[in-house]
Symmetry: C2
Subunit: 223 residues, 2 copies
């Protein structure tokens, strides 16, 4: 089995991505990032999801992005918005996907792997720039110049199997692959037990996805 | 004054890069990375260098790359080579510059800065792939698709003012700008007091640079 590194936040999209990678026959090395996020419950969800979906292993890297702030997820002085607004929301974390893909690149090189999976999606999403296909293609191009492995001929591929899917289609895909979405946490301000607020951007996209997919929403909501 | 983020390891190249950025009129926000490196003395050197060269501030991010290993600098079971070999040496740290540039990108975005400086050099260097101009250009291209700032029109430039200079020319440039190289630590296995081994790849390149520049070597060598 070929090794792959899977970026696993513990949310709906990354859980589905792990299931896709497993279905393609990869031995899945899951990487989560404890970056000081408000919704730390997602880190426990990542462990549960990795175990449930037969990952080879799951590791959590620690990097305190609250040292920079600039996002509602890394600065407790900025509230998580609960109504849809225009433009890229304040829940955007500066360079987060670039940082996480860079860590995945390091691990992939050590594993001798040429495959990184990320649950980026550019359809029913918050408009984050680092979820778009042209960004992902540019990262892949850079990565193929960055490493000793690349110099030695190892081709690196960034897989984003959900990038063109609607949230409903992601859910249908995951259900077909046996994902238990009750294990996942998407909410930006989930409580310590992983219960969702139901009103943040991430909750609204997720809830609408279950509705459109015609699937019962297994999310545990607070209150 | 425009803000810039300077990747500052505490070594000769990054100290010179900071001096160049200062001479170009930037307010310099210096970022160091405590990644579990064998030569932790460089982190203290980074603080000294930032203060001596009038940086606006210096911060040290912490990210334990020993969780991946794969390098003599992040795995104590791998010795630092003391003779020149062929190919990219085992002191190469997987994806290190990509990780550090990603962190710089995050900080630059929060600072409203479009300028990142890195002391990468592709002449008298160890052959690390992530020091080459084509890699740096690819990172810059990716970065300009990665952030909210980029979407909003902020152009991001990766400055690598040393990339085409010999080590001797770097030293001459730094001397002209008032860099005290006695404050810097380049050695891959410097002791806790910052004294250099004199025989690792980094020490050999540095020592030869001072010789070729005709400048007295201020390095404190152990033993």
């Amino acid at each position: 089995m070929k090794n792959a590194v899977i970026l696993l936040s513990g949310g709906l999209d990354s859980a589905t991505t792990l299931a896709v990678a497993r279905s393609e026959g990869f031995a899945c090395h899951c990487l989560s990032l404890d970056y000081g996020q408000r919704h730390r419950a997602e880190l426990l969800a990542a462990q549960r999801v990795a175990a449930a979906l037969g990952a080879a292993e799951q590791r959590t890297a620690k990097l305190d992005l609250t040292m920079f702030g600039g996002s509602a997820l890394t600065d407790t002085a900025i509230d998580v918005p609960t109504t849809a607004g225009a433009g890229i929301p304040i829940t955007y974390v500066p360079a987060r996907n670039t940082i996480m893909l860079s860590l995945a690149l390091a691990w992939a090189e050590v594993l001798g792997s040429g495959d990184i999976f990320i649950g980026a999606n550019a359809v029913d999403y918050s408009g984050y720039p680092d979820c778009r296909p042209d960004y992902l293609a540019a990262f892949e191009k850079m990565a193929n110049l960055a490493t000793k492995a690349a110099v030695e001929g190892q081709r690196l591929t960034i897989h984003a199997p959900l990038v063109d899917l609607s949230k409903a289609d992601i859910i249908r895909r995951g259900m077909a692959l046996g994902v238990d979405y009750g294990l996942t946490v998407s909410c930006y301000q989930a409580d310590d037990d992983g219960r969702a607020c139901g009103v943040c951007d991430s909750c609204r996209l997720r809830r609408a996805g279950f509705e459109q997919a015609g699937v019962a929403d297994p999310t545990r909501y607070a209150g």
